[in-house]
């Protein structure tokens, strides 16, 4: 693991039915994972307006994780398909304007997959550590 002493702040929008439950399971299974995520529970991943993602990134979050049910397994049957379109738009927009779209990650984590949640968080934290500080963090004008 790259150790540059950085402790990234990651905002995670997790859907109530799958990914949040997976996070819960990871906890109750006493799995250890990087403590860098701040979880915000949403009822469905499609609740995440691209504006939320940008707000987090512009306010100094180093990464944004959006977690939802696997395609086809959405509790509301198709919410995560809409979520994918929204995240795609946010990523493309960030990329067009020269913000790092690697700081946004969309992952599908089913409710029963606590270990997968831990792994996604570890992996994402690692990749954010490699990217370093979000340059918006100290920008007075933003």
């Amino acid at each position: 693991m790259a150790d540059n002493g950085m402790e990234p702040k990651i905002v995670a929008f997790l859907c109530n039915w799958c990914t949040f439950t997976a996070a819960d399971l990871a906890g109750t299974s006493r799995l250890k994972y990087e403590p860098n995520v701040r979880i915000i529970k949403v009822m469905c991943s499609s609740r995440v307006d691209p504006v939320f993602i940008l707000k987090a990134l512009l306010d100094g979050a180093d990464g944004v994780l959006i977690g939802g049910c696997a395609p086809g397994d959405c509790h509301y049957s198709k919410g995560n398909f809409y979520a994918r379109r929204k995240v795609a738009l946010a990523k493309k927009l960030a990329e067009s304007m020269g913000l790092d779209s690697k700081r946004i990650r969309l992952s599908w984590i089913p409710a029963s997959e606590g270990p997968l949640f831990a792994r996604v968080v570890n992996e994402f934290t690692e990749s954010i550590k490699q990217l370093g500080d979000n340059p918006t963090k100290r920008e007075v004008y933003i």
Binding site: K55, K78, S96
Partner: protein, 392 residues
């Protein structure tokens, strides 16, 4: 509608018919409308006309004995975006009289976008559009010799050359014809003074029945000229936007570009696509206590107020860029000379490409936010489950 897979996007109308009307263009058009009104094929016309003070244009609903004399189907400036004017007419339901509307191509595209989100009701409307040479920046038109500008504009219109001194976003417009309207007024590719009336739908054909004119066979020449010009303009558009992107890339450059913004939100107010009754960015959702601001200021060693300037612009882009028709109304309304129209065009070009969507191309094509495909956009998710499943 949910899954996109079954939607048929073919909306081609054969373009081999057209009525050529010889003579001065504006006079011919106004005669055409006057004919439509007296034969009761339409009962009202919505188009721009000179204001009473004669120094600018506004949109007017007009009948047979009304303002038609001062009407100006091809104004040299875009004062109010036509789609916005039109949405005032039909937002609350169908127009009960058949109404013809004359729109610039970008206004036409915005109208189609608004129809998709139910801000315009297309029933009983006849959309008419034309080959647009561009428009002057409002500020330029108000501050310079209007007579001279009008003359130059008139010449560009009849000779179909790009308008000199046009708005930046007009100079990179690649959808400059009235394609998609019920009636397309064709100016490009004609040999002598005159224009075509080309039906683009059954509705348009109905209205053109009985309109006398010669039927020349050189619509093909027009098509060819349009195709050539489109390729040229597309290239110019892409190059210009690419080099513009270089200057705004990254948070620092982006802030420099937007730093003169005075937070008036005019760009959103005049935007035809921004239709929300209450804008998220004008709402209380983003306001917070002094404590929050002071903490942010402490963290960053200072904070610009009003806050969230970049969030407003980027956030608005996530809402409207997918439908942005590059009409440039935003930049005309900006009192601080921020190149917003280029910025939004750039965002629009890139986000639309993700969904292979072109705003205003077809009413059948749903707004990307409202639909999805089961298998798509794999590049934007992080595929993990499968690999993980293999290991288990």
């Amino acid at each position: 509608m949910t899954a996109l897979d079954e939607v048929n996007m073919d909306n081609e109308v054969s373009m081999n018919k057209g009525i050529w009307i010889e003579g001065p263009v504006k006079k011919g058009i106004l005669e055409f409308f006057s004919g439509l009104l007296s034969s009761k094929k339409v009962e009202a016309v919505l188009m721009p006309a000179k204001n009473k003070s004669k120094d600018s244009y506004a949109w007017f609903l007009m009948g047979k004995d009304g303002l038609l004399e001062s009407a100006e189907p091809f104004p040299p400036v875009m004062t109010t975006q036509g789609a916005r004017a039109l949405s005032y007419l039909t937002k609350k339901g169908t127009a009960w009289k058949k109404t013809a509307v004359v729109l610039r191509p970008c206004e036409l595209r915005a109208t189609i976008e608004l129809a998709k989100i139910k801000q315009v009701d297309l029933n009983n409307l006849v959309l008419i559009s034309f080959d647009c040479p561009g428009a002057y920046p409002l500020e330029k038109y108000f501050n310079e010799d209007q007579k001279e500008l009008d003359e130059i504009f008139g010449a560009c219109l009849s000779e179909q050359v790009e308008l000199e001194g046009a708005r930046a976003v007009c100079s990179i417009c690649h959808r400059f014809t009235g394609r998609g309207a019920d009636i397309e007024i064709g100016l490009m590719g004609g040999e002598a003074k005159g224009f075509w009336l080309i039906p683009g739908s059954g509705n348009g054909e109905e209205l053109l029945e009985g309109v006398s004119g010669s039927k020349p066979d050189n619509l093909e020449a027009r098509e060819k000229k349009i195709a050539e010009a489109t390729i040229q303009r597309e290239e110019k558009r892409n190059n210009t936007l690419d080099s513009f992107r270089e200057t705004v890339m990254g948070p620092e450059n982006l802030m420099n570009t937007l730093s003169s913004c005075i937070n008036c939100h005019n760009c959103s107010r005049v935007c035809p696509i921004c239709f929300c009754r209450e804008c998220y960015f004008d709402s209380k959702a983003l306001s917070s206590e002094a404590d929050n601001m002071l903490q942010r200021a402490q963290r960053k060693h200072g904070l610009r107020l009003p806050p969230d300037l970049l969030l407003f612009h980027l956030g608005r882009m996530t809402h409207m860029s997918i439908s942005c028709v590059s009409c440039g109304a935003c930049e005309d309304a900006c009192p601080a000379n921020v190149p917003v129209s280029m910025l939004f065009s750039l965002a629009g070009r890139n986000t639309q490409a993700v969904f292979e969507y072109e705003p205003g191309r077809s009413i059948e094509e749903p707004v990307p936010y409202k639909v999805f495909r089961f298998e798509e956009l794999k590049d934007f998710e992080t595929p993990y489950t499968k690999e993980y499943a293999k290991e288990q």
